[in-house]
């Protein structure tokens, strides 16, 4: 086993990206993800072929990403919520041009300038589009510094495999906290990219990276083809952790930092004899619909624990098909639901389902 090192989550993402063959990074400083940019600024100029550039804006950074992605090389940008809003135009173009790229959002509270404390309130933006047009990102939600590293590597592989942008949806705690991490072994992408613009060398017809199709029939066809790929992603790439669900009578759904708090709450509730389990989505797009649907066959209710006014809860409800009560346990604006709050909300749900029998 590789030796574990102590790293901030932001740094773990950066190091994992380098080990995934990402030699191009474009960013702009914003709290609470700046360590990631700083790490890249330190490392990339010392690496052969490494390019670090602090762009003039998040808009420019994502378009530089678009440029490198067009050449078929692995490339990344990172930001936090307000900065990721600025990147949405570029993300839509990257999706519309079927380019692989990795975008990191270390979320903070919003809307507007909001605050700098952790949040999950960009869930809709990340999973339901964000930019204009019909598209999806593969959205991965790390819940530990180890996953910050592992899911970064995975994001590059999935982006290459499916020719679509992938996003790491983290939050301020994940970015700022340190935990021991076993860094992934260096691995480069092996996917062929015959579509890349690298110069024709006068040996082939010109390649064009483009998202403009003025004939609606043609544009529709590109959408249909892209959604066929999305269907494959939904079939093959759903990831989640199922925790103490075998005998669970109630199910908490939570990701990222919320899932960590939920696990503590579950430990305490189980000591009281309350059989609560956790489904922790690791991909929020594609969302683990089947796992939730199957859980709905067994459990009496769901609690969606979120650092937002309730966004993922809509996906939980869609997945369980309105068969069980789904309640929200949330804080917003940079606050984090505590163990006590999760226990209280879960117990309320239990009383309402079981008529106060417990």
């Amino acid at each position: 086993m590789t030796e574990k090192v102590l790293m901030k989550g932001n740094e773990a993402i950066a190091e994992a990206a380098l080990r995934s063959g990402c030699l191009h990074y474009f960013g702009y400083p914003i709290t609470p993800q700046t360590e990631l940019t700083a790490y890249m600024a330190k490392r990339l100029p010392k690496m052969e072929g490494g390019v670090f550039l602090q762009a003039e804006s998040e808009i420019s950074a994502i378009n530089m990403v678009y440029g490198v992605a067009s050449t078929g090389k692995r490339v990344m940008t990172s930001s936090s919520s307000p900065g990721v809003s600025l990147k949405q135009e570029g993300i839509s173009y990257i999706a519309g041009s079927d380019l692989p790229a990795v975008i990191v959002n270390v979320q903070r509270g919003g809307p507007g300038l909001g605050g700098i404390q952790p949040s999950q309130s960009d869930y809709f933006q990340a999973t339901k589009g964000g930019g204009h047009g019909d598209y999806h990102l593969i959205v991965l939600t790390p819940s530990s510094v180890q996953e910050m590293a592992d899911l970064t590597s995975l994001a590059f592989d999935l982006a290459d495999k499916y020719r679509c942008p992938a996003m790491l949806l983290a939050d301020g705690t994940m970015g700022q906290m340190m935990e021991p991490v076993a860094l992934p072994e260096p691995h480069m992408g092996t996917v062929e990219k015959p579509w890349a613009v690298t110069g024709t060398q006068m040996k082939r017809k010109h390649n064009v990276v483009n998202s403009l199709y003025l004939q609606p029939e043609v544009l529709e066809k590109t959408n249909f083809e892209r959604f066929e790929r999305y269907r494959q992603i939904e079939e093959n790439e759903v990831r989640y952790e199922s925790y103490l669900m075998d005998d669970a009578e109630y199910c908490i759904v939570a990701f990222g930092i919320a899932a960590r708090v939920a696990k503590n709450a579950i430990t305490m509730m189980r000591k009281d004899g309350l059989k609560v389990g956790l489904i922790r989505p690791i991909t929020v797009w594609p969302f683990p619909k089947k796992a939730i649907r199957e859980a709905a066959d067994k459990v009496k209710g769901f609690v969606s624990v979120e650092l937002s006014m309730g966004q993922m809860i809509e996906d939980v409800r869609l997945a369980e098909e309105c068969r069980r009560p789904v309640v929200l346990c949330n804080r917003a604006g940079g606050m984090i639901p505590g163990v006590d709050q999760i226990i209280a909300v879960t117990k309320d749900l239990v009383s309402s389902v079981e008529g106060g029998a417990r």
Binding site: T31, I116, Q176
Partner: protein, 176 residues
């Protein structure tokens, strides 16, 4: 076993550094851990806190609602966190800067004039480490073992002389 330690004080007192030292020590011991800083726009002054969880099992939430050990280096931190400490827990106070006593009877309190001690030793920036020395002595869950390994990791390679200063500060607190 899981031990949750909350360290709090003013920004610039080395709150995060103290936490890092504990985190690296836990790593050297092969334990599971998490280190979570407060982060804000202020680099100096203001309040800073750092949550360190050390455990034999994977760490659940890195957020500490009820610490086993509270280390405070200013009065606002004692006022804010005293009531959150678990019954039977420990509170370590820099008594140079915090003039009042811990009011709870169900916790063990330790008072070290660490700021003054550090000043007297000519190392005014290491009050946090002096206080940590006392923690290492009194807290069975956080022994002195692997301290040297951890110090090597957290002290900047550019200033190796700081290693000796830090060790001296630890010893001063440990013997206090």
């Amino acid at each position: 076993m899981t031990t949750q330690i909350l360290i709090a004080g003013f920004g610039g007192q080395g709150i995060l550094f103290s936490g890092k030292l504990l985190a690296y020590k836990a790593l050297a011991e092969g334990k599971e851990l998490s280190w979570l800083p407060s982060y804000g726009p202020e680099m100096r002054g203001g309040t800073a806190s750092c949550s360190v969880t050390i455990s034999d099992e994977p760490v659940g939430s890195p957020i500490i609602d009820h610490p086993d050990v509270l280390i405070v280096m200013n009065l606002p931190s004692l006022d804010k966190y005293e009531s959150t400490v678990k019954p039977g827990g420990m509170i370590f106070v820099d008594s140079t800067l915090v003039t009042r006593k811990v009011s709870r009877a169900d916790v063990k309190a330790f008072y070290i004039p660490s700021t003054k001690m550090a000043q007297d030793m000519g190392m005014p920036t290491l009050a946090n480490i002096v206080l940590l020395g006392k923690v290492l002595k009194e807290c069975p869950a956080i022994s002195r073992s692997y301290l040297e390994e951890a110090l090597k990791k957290v002290v900047s390679a550019k200033h190796p002389e700081l290693y000796d200063y830090n060790l001296k500060a630890i010893d001063a607190g440990y013997g206090a």
